[in-house]
Amino acid sequence: MQRPKRKNPVLRTRLPTLPPAARSRVALGLTAAAALGRFELQQCRECGTVQYPPREACQKCLSVRLDWKPQPPGGELIAQTVLHHSNDLFFRERLPWRLGLVKLDCGPMVVAHLHAAAKGKVLARAMLDRAGQAVIVALPYKENGDMADDRQLREFTCDPQHRKILVADGKTAVGQALVQGFAKSGAEIIWVGYAEPWKKFAGFDELEKIPQVTLVPLDVTDSKNVKELAAEIAGKVDIVVNNAEHHRTFGISNRQGVETARAEMDVNYLGLLRLAQEFGPAMRSRGADGAASAVAWVNLLSVYALANFPPHGTFSASKAAAHSLAQCLRAEMRPAGVRVVNVFPGPIDDEWNQLLPPPKIAPAALAKSIVAALREGIEDVYPGDVAQEWLERWRDNPKALEREISA
């Protein structure tokens, strides 16, 4: 994709609009799967029929025992159209718009947004649109090099290419791997925060060598500092990655006082609140600002936000608080079409998880899955095997998980 032209700052910024967001409750099963990057359709537990659009009963045997199950994404493009007219503001501003009618290998016919290069055999993917609701997108069966550049597809993804990104903490291994990942993906500018500008940290020189990188002082516990940085760059940032975290071990009885817990809350929970208050409003106003608009907000949370891990009990609590606040942020950013991406890693292979046995996710692998999630439009990221296993356990039985991890 060509680098988008510089915007004329005198011109009015187009206000964000959203595609139609209304869905029946049963249809939100598609959204739940798409948020995780999965393609699932309703399947009847009695007779195995796969159906779409979502229904309250099996269209074949009338059973109401319907499950959302992963389905093979292959299909055949039967007919296509190009809309030159729409009754909806979002699409009116984006005409012409391609649609396809696809016969899925698993049975149903689906109406899908159609990638410009898709023809014949196609791949169906459930993706979140700017309204945060799942839609089906038909992609070319074989991935080609510039597939992500498709004008329509970019409406569903948060591709870092040509975008201006703030990584809140460049001092950590995860932060540095993220910066490397964004630089490789063609980000235009990467602002990298560091809390103590008076001293160099390990890896500082490597970061400085990356041409897109600008190091900026950022301490998420310092309201004044956050405000100052936002005054300077909030109107330009397309993607915020809030990866600043404070992590100490122990739960309640192994520690005296509340200072450590307060420090965790100050970074992990209030840090998100400070960033969101200062950067959120400007990003909300730029949700439809051309080909490289404000597009995503990434929070580095933890699987421990889902169920408390007692050996890291106060840390878990601060991440649970941050998770709840991130849901609030998601609701507030949605009208602008800015996606809030929550990342729930298992233990990261760093010094604060020293005593935990492997598997632990490597910072580079974590960074890679965050970049991939932005590219693929995923909203809830469970990177690596450990997080995936936690997720399955949690979905299966949250109470069982609580008992298992406190054992």
């Binding site: 659009p53 159209t81 030159h84 009754n87 909806d88 649609l99 309204a131």
Partner: protein
């Protein structure tokens, strides 16, 4: 018997509610039949924009007290279905005179709102894909039909142009200018391969007719016509990947057997024509030509009221306008006019037998409801 065809003249936009249009239709029916309101003891109502009311709320709104009432929300199939149900009610003695009314208002923004909430499947699986409404669904059907059966834009254009010629002789048509093939082909694209003149124009309006016994019609001195045969079917051929046919193909033998006639005996046809491709499918499914031979059939005929194979003799919805559920009544009302000698300058010469078909509700990727009726001039 069917009698008293009435039309409340269409307008593009109306500030009135659907109730106003339906009230005008009932009032026109009374005027045409010289009946009093209390003589009408059966009522069917079809309307998209009547919400939150249905037929029952309308009884109090209009101060009528029918002993038989039906709300028929079947879109373009409503006219045929209303006739079927009313005829059975009259036959069974549940009602003596049934008023069948279909109509809608059209505010500047009401079409968008109708599309957004048309059906659960539409809201979940079509509207979020560009809010194209039936344009997008019919674009798929049309593209597929063209690819599979070799239909061209000129074939669809021929129907649109011929119907416009018919409409010029119908006073209530909203389109009053002739349409040439050049203009048709040069129109702007809406949802490829559909262009402007392939798509109906939503408008406000209402249509109505009476169903009653022959004796009653004669005693009232009302010109009337006879219902010879009728069929209805919903969600037929659900396993066809793309719609190429609808219930007519399943039930047409039954239709002609009831009427004891052949397709060749029919003097004129009123199809449901929100998009020309569906007219072709109706001509095929109702036995006027084989499946896939629609394009060849189009090339063979003129479709004007005075030509070979008169079709949509008042101009159809494509040239009159689509007054919501009234669109499902347009062909029925026109057929009654044709068979009772009230069609004026657009009369089909010596018309004795007409076929009206209905097609309704693009619920998701296809139209679900189909119906048809064969009607005969009363001396036939």
């Amino acid at each position: 018997m069917l009698a008293a065809p009435v039309t409340v003249p269409y307008v593009r936009y109306s500030i009135r509610a659907a109730h106003w249009w339906l009230a005008r239709a009932l009032s026109s029916l009374l005027e045409a039949s010289r009946l009093r309101k209390q003589d009408i003891d059966g009522l069917t109502i079809s309307s998209f924009t009547l919400a939150p009311d249905t037929a029952i709320g309308l009884t109090q709104h209009l101060g009528v007290s029918p002993r038989w009432l039906d709300h028929i929300p079947l879109g373009g199939a409503s006219g045929v279905v209303a006739l079927r149900r009313a005829a059975r009610a009259v036959q069974a003695g549940d009602a003596d005179i049934v008023a069948c009314i279909g109509g809608d208002t059209n505010h500047v923004d009401s079409f968008r709102l109708t599309l957004a909430n048309f059906s659960q499947f539409a809201r979940d699986a079509v509207y979020p894909y560009g809010a194209g409404g039936p344009n997008a669904s019919f674009a798929f059907l049309t593209a597929h039909y063209m690819q599979r059966y070799g239909a061209t834009r000129e074939d669809f254009g021929k129907l649109c142009v011929a119907q416009r010629a018919n409409a010029l002789k119908y006073p209530h048509a909203l389109f009053k200018k002739p349409l040439s093939m050049e203009e048709y082909l040069a129109a702007r694209p809406i949802a490829e391969p559909l262009h402007l003149f392939d798509c109906v124009m939503p408008c406000a309006g209402a249509e109505g007719f009476l169903v009653l016994t022959e004796g009653r019609a004669r005693s009232l001195g009302l010109p009337c016509i006879r219902l010879k045969a009728t069929i209805e079917r919903h969600n037929a051929f659900a396993s066809d990947p793309v719609q190429i046919r609808a219930g007519w193909a399943l039930d047409r033998d039954d239709l002609y057997a009831q009427a004891q006639c052949e397709p060749g005996d029919i003097d004129f046809v009123e199809t449901y024509d929100d998009y020309p491709v569906i007219s072709l499918m109706q001509l095929e499914d109702l036995g006027f030509c084989e499946k896939g031979e629609g394009p060849a059939f189009v090339r063979k005929h003129t479709f004007t009221h005075d030509g070979s194979f008169p079709l949509n003799t008042s101009g159809g919805q494509l040239s009159v306008g689509q007054a919501g559920a009234g669109g499902g009544f347009l062909g029925m009302v026109e057929a009654i006019r044709q068979l009772t000698g009230q069609a004026g300058a657009r009369a089909v010469k010596d018309a004795k037998l007409g076929l009206v078909s209905g097609f309704g509700m693009i619920n998701y990727d296809r139209g679900l409801g189909s119906g048809a009726a064969i009607l005969a001039a009363s001396q036939a």
